[in-house]
């Protein structure tokens, strides 16, 4: 069947300037004389391939090696974490998607209209889509999925929270579904674009949860064929596939016959497997291997920071010593983050000065607030009463040492990031902070947070759109969920911020909403509640004969739909 040219405009991923410019420079060399800027962009976003690659070829098996944990359930409705999103994007699809400029674009829903009061939304669905088990995709299928997400026995966390304002759904016709809301939700479309709210076959959802977890059924370009736990998931092509999102590179079925989805937790082994050609794509690439890969002709890089929050250290303002804004500012001024990031990430990560990811168009950045200034930090500590020093060089006040408990989840922080924390520990010591780094496993880490046994913590949060600010900094989020977890780990309790975030979440006008989020971010940054480090890193390395791999601009998971093997 005819295929469209393998480029798409605008660029499909939120690729930061650094990678793009590197690609562009290389591309200029090899593609000198070619006029279409679109080709340049495509050359970069299609995994940095700069060679003229010709027409896409169908066939072949691609092996993907993930460094994330193996999910316990392949249905992202259940729980809802990033490892699930990575693999489920290959076989499940959402109602809407998002393009690289942050606009919501059609996917399984062709169009949507909110009511004037913002309390009902009507989605018009595609009428030509069938689930891979033969069930027809229609309004009742959407209803079944919303019901499944909101059913407490599903144990959904991410999807459940995202649908917090949805009170019910109604099938107006087979192709029109109406959502009823308790109050206007300006983040509804962003929420629905996430892989954790993907649409599954209602017939498949009626099976037991174990069966559905083992092989969820969707409308996506691939089908889950088998899953050998602790080993690999095998996906095969959906021959009847018709529903790519509006920004995809081609139409019709995917090019690849089969995808083998493996799990290799050790980063050095994962990179070795890629080097030897045993696997074709790896995720969670470490900075030093990315730098090595830049010198290699057979390996390319795809950099696609995750949306939602930036990666930052949150300072617990709910207890001493960080209940004093001067001590928070002193800590931030005493931490030499720039040198740490440049030495450890070796140019693969850009310093952030924002609460939000750089892919969020509403992100506010303020570098002046986070400059390394040990002298100013010392003065601030003097003013705050921490004006004496003990024998080890740490500040003391009322004979209590200025100690910062910093639990670190070794499952969530890559080694380079743990080293960043060590360097912050060393530079903050010069000002008189005793930072106690506590590496621990995930469950101990959750326990430390739930027990309020921390002064600083790093816990990035992925969500599409600026509504993530409400989850992270609204005082309601200090109240723990039944699981004991609360997202407002900085324990920001500021009525003005609450007011801004609540209003923004119900404001439909895009400009007004952006302005409210901008004000809220100013207050958060100026309150020195967080120390932004960099975007949530999301680097992929791939064999250079893998063409057309891109990430979905929703939560930056890769999609293998456009990918093909040039071998």
């Amino acid at each position: 069947m005819p295929t469209r040219p393998a480029f798409h405009s605008p660029a499909p991923t939120g690729t930061p300037a650094r990678t793009t410019s590197r690609c562009t420079t290389r591309a200029l060399g090899s593609l000198a004389g070619l006029v279409a800027l679109g080709l340049l962009v495509a050359g970069c976003t299609a995994a940095g391939s700069t060679k003229s690659v010709g027409e896409p070829k169908s066939g072949g098996t691609l092996t993907y090696a993930s460094g994330d944990a193996e999910p316990s359930c392949l249905d992202p409705h259940v729980g809802g974490n990033f490892p699930q999103a990575l693999v489920s994007a290959q076989y499940l699809e959402s109602l809407v998607s998002r393009n690289s400029t942050g606009q919501i674009i059609p996917w399984l829903a062709e169009s949507w209209v909110p009511s004037a009061d913002g309390l009902t939304w009507e989605f018009t669905l595609r009428d030509d889509v069938t689930f891979t088990d033969g069930t027809v995709f229609d309004a009742s299928a959407v209803q079944a999925n919303i019901a499944h997400l909101q059913d407490p026995t599903t144990l959904s966390s991410t999807g459940y929270l995202a649908l917090g304002k949805v009170t019910g759904t109604e099938a107006v016709s087979p192709t029109v579904v109406r959502f009823a809301l308790s109050e206007p939700d300006s983040a509804l479309l962003e929420s629905l674009s996430q892989p954790w709210l993907a649409i599954e076959s209602p017939a498949a959802l009626e099976r037991s949860q174990d069966d559905n977890c083992a092989a969820p059924v969707g409308t996506g370009p691939f089908i889950v064929e088998s899953w050998v736990k602790q080993n690999a998931i095998t996906l095969v092509r959906n021959e009847d596939y018709v529903s790519p999102p509006a920004d995809a590179g081609h139409s019709g079925p995917a090019y690849l016959d089969t995808v083998i989805w493996r799990f290799i937790p050790d980063s050095a082994s994962r990179y070795a497997a890629l080097q030897s050609g045993e696997v074709d794509v790896i995720d969670n690439a470490q900075p030093d291997t990315i730098v090595q890969a830049e010198q290699s002709d057979s390996i390319e890089e795809l950099d696609s920071p995750r949306p939602g929050s930036s990666n930052r250290i949150e300072l617990n303002s709910g207890q001493a010593p960080f209940d004093d804004v001067r001590v928070r500012e002193a800590f931030i001024r005493s931490a030499n983050v720039d040198d740490a990031v440049s030495s450890l990430f070796q140019g693969t990560a850009t310093r952030s000065y924002s609460a939000l990811s750089s892919v969020e168009p509403t992100a506010v950045s303020n570098a002046a607030l986070f400059a390394y200034d040990p002298a100013a930090a010392g003065t601030l500590l003097d003013e705050a009463g921490w004006d004496e020093t003990d024998a080890d060089g740490y500040r003391i006040k009322d004979s209590v040492r200025l100690t910062v408990e910093f639990p670190v989840s070794t499952n969530q922080s890559i080694p380079a990031e743990q080293s960043v924390f060590e360097q912050i520990q060393a530079t903050a010591k010069a000002t008189g902070f005793e930072v106690k780094l506590r590496p621990m496993d995930l469950s101990s880490w959750y326990a430390a947070l739930a027990g309020n046994d921390y002064d600083a913590v790093s816990a990035p949060y992925t969500k599409v759109g600026p509504d993530v600010l409400r989850i992270l900094y609204h005082s309601d989020s200090i109240v723990p969920a039944p699981s004991g977890y609360f997202a407002n780990l900085a324990q920001v309790d500021d009525p003005a911020i609450d007011e801004l975030l609540t209003t923004a979440a119900t404001t439909a006008d895009a400009a007004e909403r952006a302005s409210l989020y901008s004000d809220a971010q100013d207050r958060i940054l100026e309150g020195f509640y967080i120390l932004p480090l960099y975007d949530q890193q999301n680097h992929f390395l791939l064999r250079s004969d893998v063409i057309g791999l891109r990430t979905l601009p929703t939560v930056a998971v890769p999609t293998l739909y456009d990918a093909w093997l040039n071998r």
Binding site: S267, A268, Y271, A272, Q286, D288, T289, V291, Q292, N336, D339, A340, S342, S343, L344, T410, P415, A416, Q418, S419, E422, Q423, Q425, A426, T427, L437, R438, P439
Partner: protein, 286 residues
């Protein structure tokens, strides 16, 4: 020199002049290394005057050169300084763990060897249950219960080596107990505890010294293993196992980060083993 000559030489040696007073090359090297390691542990500042925690981000990942003999790590810390300062952790953990293991072994072995059949049977079955677990698994179990850290790792290694020591001590006790001088003491009306303290224990302790020297090498390796797994020393402590673990991530780009800590773990373990065997050989000839 023919094989025959070697053999006659050896037998003549053992028969006539007792142990050789000459040091082999391996023993001499091990002796010098042991002295250096002890010096590193006691006065690290003498051999490496720098601060093992001093970071220098701008000179990170430097391969071995004149300024940094062993190179630098991901934060620009000098690996030579860290390896030297790390000796004290490894030696202290190794010695303390061996002491714990031996202490427990002596208590259990003495109970089994001295207090009659019922206790002997009970202690033996208990030791067999412990033997069913590989030693490291026992250590892991202990750390899971009591949480990671240098102290728990030390105790864990000590505990997991105790059953082995207990067995050997029990066997040694039983051998010594049946010797003529013990029977003589019994005939003379000494109490059981007097015999144990005055006659039996002193005669079992000599082999224990050899065991301890050999055990330190093993304990150091195990303690480094636990730190490598993230269950012992916490970063950025300059402990060899923890350094090895930190270097593993960069093994394809910065081999020196894991090579030098690894080299020192091996050197220390080999040194302890060579010295232990050498002492063993000499004592057998006495």
């Amino acid at each position: 020199m023919s094989d025959l000559e070697v053999q006659t030489g050896l037998s003549a040696q053992s028969r006539q002049s007792g142990p050789s007073r000459r040091l082999g090359v391996a023993e001499a090297t091990a002796g010098v290394l042991a002295l250096l390691l002890v010096a590193s542990a006691v006065v690290p500042q003498l051999l490496a005057p720098g601060d093992p925690f001093a970071i220098d981000p701008l000179s990170a990942f430097q391969p071995p050169n004149f300024a940094h003999g062993f190179g630098t790590d991901e934060s620009g810390r000098d690996i030579y300084t860290r390896v030297v300062h790390g000796t004290q952790y490894s030696l202290v953990i190794g010695a303390a763990a061996t002491a714990i293991g031996l202490g427990l072994g002596i208590v259990l072995g003495t109970l089994a060897g001295m207090l009659g059949r019922v206790i002997d049977f009970t202690v033996n079955r208990f030791l067999e249950v412990l033997f069913a677990f590989p030693g490291l698994l026992l250590a892991l179990l202990f750390i899971v219960i009591f949480g990671p850290g240098v102290v728990t790792a030390t105790i864990a290694v000590g505990l997991s080596t105790a059953p082995g020591y207990a067995r050997i001590i029990r066997a040694q006790l039983i051998t010594v107990r049946s010797q003529a001088f013990v029977e003589a003491a019994t005939v003379l009306g000494r109490t059981r505890w007097q015999i144990l303290l005055r006659h039996i224990l002193p005669n079992t302790l000599a082999p224990l010294f050899v065991l301890a020297t050999l055990g330190i090498g093993q304990a150091i390796v195990w303690a480094a293993t636990l730190s490598y797994l993230g269950l012992g020393a916490e970063p950025p402590t300059a402990e060899w196992g923890a350094m090895l673990s930190a270097g593993r991530t960069y093994i394809t780009s910065a081999w020196w980060m894991s090579f030098f800590p690894g080299l020192f773990i091996v050197l220390t373990a080999v040194t302890a083993t060579v010295l232990g065997r050498s002492i063993d050989r000499r004592m057998r000839h006495v």
